[in-house]
């Protein structure tokens, strides 16, 4: 089996290396990929959508069908994760958890699913993998998280003029939540943003994207033609496309942020969303 695979791989390698001889050289301005539709994107996108960042204009305007379904794929991945491991959470989890109240050192024993009492100070779970909290780690990450989120919003809002956009902003925003979960614990994250809210945000992002496209149908235009905003808001065509790109990117950012955070929560806690890393 192993030798068979190696033979197959060697053959593939030989074919690929032979095929590479016919490729255009690296950085050749006349390579076929850079000639036809790509020229159109570069030359027309500013007049069509008033967006200097060609990647954003191509992503959310010329290729907005593609981006819409990529967003749906991310959303479906989060859904799949949920149904694969979240639904089966009852099987192998201990029913009793022990929590230590950090200021007093009191240890509580709770059945799973019972809420912790509303006391000042933090509870931390004690199990066989319990490690003492690091004050430095918590303080530093608590200082970093607001700036991460602010930066994510900047990346989203400034995606027309600088490298950025919905996917990047969503990933940065999701990373700030994951940082919160890693540096504190998963319970802190779910206290800040409930699981239900996360799921609603993911669905809201996809709905916003599809809704922006569907409103064009209502205005008698083609699906995903942002030109309907000229009628609704009384702006010129390129401005309408620019606004459409921003709204659509907002939808992408919501879905990506919520989906990646949900996937992290599910995978790191084996689907229980009770206690993670």
């Amino acid at each position: 089996m192993r030798t068979l695979t190696l033979v197959a791989l060697t053959l593939t390698a030989a074919f690929l290396f032979r095929a590479a001889l016919d490729f255009p050289a690296w950085g050749d301005p006349a390579s076929p990929a850079g000639l036809h539709v790509s020229r159109f994107f570069i030359e027309r996108s500013y007049d069509d959508a008033r967006t200097p960042n060609l990647v954003t204009a191509t992503l959310a305007d010329y290729r907005s069908y593609d981006t819409m379904f990529e967003t749906v794929v991310v959303f479906c991945a989060a859904l799949a994760c949920f149904f694969i491991i979240r639904a089966a959470r009852e099987a192998c989890v201990a029913n009793v958890f022990h929590y230590r109240h950090a200021p007093t050192g009191l240890v509580l024993t709770l059945r799973r699913g019972c809420p912790l009492p509303r006391l000042r100070g933090r509870f931390e779970q004690i199990d066989s993998e319990w490690t003492p909290r690091s004050v430095i780690l918590e303080t530093v990450s608590r200082g970093m998280i607001p700036f991460l989120q602010l930066f994510a919003i900047y990346v989203l809002a400034h995606g027309h003029y600088s490298p950025g956009g919905g996917f990047q902003a969503g990933v940065i925003f999701g990373a700030s939540y994951i940082l919160l979960a890693v540096s504190h614990d998963l319970r802190t994250l779910t206290d800040h943003v409930a699981e239900r809210t996360m799921h609603l945000l993911a669905a809201a992002g996809v709905s916003l994207y599809v809704g922006i496209g569907a409103l064009a149908l209502w205005a008698g235009m083609q699906f995903m033609d942002y030109g309907w905003m000229t009628l609704a808001f009384g702006m010129d065509g390129p401005g309408a496309h620019s606004l459409g790109i921003l709204l659509v990117e907002l939808g992408v950012a919501l879905t990506v942020c919520a989906s990646l955070t949900t996937i992290f929560k599910l995978v790191s806690s084996e689907g229980t969303i009770m206690e993670g890393l």
Binding site: L9, L21, W26, A33, G34, S38, Y46, A77, F167, L260
Partner: protein, 139 residues
């Protein structure tokens, strides 16, 4: 012998090497997590390949300069690298993270059921002893 046309494609050869490394990991390794790592390496090679297709000698990043954005007409397409591969890979990177999550979720489920991530051990258990959940308490 003239090596210049060969060296001009050295980048593609590097990506082929990375891609085949990933393919080897997916095909030969028995451990499911190692297969997932191989998948990640494979995807990285594809992303590098696409981004490399978009490059143009002497061109700048695909964001119009202030002069080009203000000017009427006359944008030189050769002055900006091809935005299309960047668009495709931008979405592919995020989707690859999401699919990685699904793969890890499936792996967790398998671990919970069979107590192992070795492919041949799982197959052996499927053939011989299809018993229930591995971690249900034995009476």
């Amino acid at each position: 012998m003239d090596f210049a046309p060969l060296l001009g494609k050295a980048n593609f050869w590097a990506y082929f090497f990375i891609m085949l490394t990933g393919l080897y990991g997916m095909a030969v390794k028995r451990n499911l997590v190692k297969k997932i790592i191989g998948l990640g390496i494979f995807q990285t090679a594809i992303m590098l390949f696409y981004v490399s297709i978009g490059s143009k000698e002497g061109a700048t990043i695909p964001i119009l300069t202030a002069a080009d954005a203000a000017g009427r007409g006359g944008i030189d397409a050769a002055a900006y690298i091809n935005p299309l591969p960047h668009v495709l890979m931008l979405t592919a990177i995020v989707v690859s993270v999401a699919t990685l999550g699904v793969a890890l979720a499936l792996t967790l489920r398998l671990w919970r059921r069979y107590g192992t991530l070795e492919e041949d051990e799982i197959l052996a258990r499927l053939r011989g002893d299809p018993g229930g959940e591995a971690c249900t308490p034995r009476s």
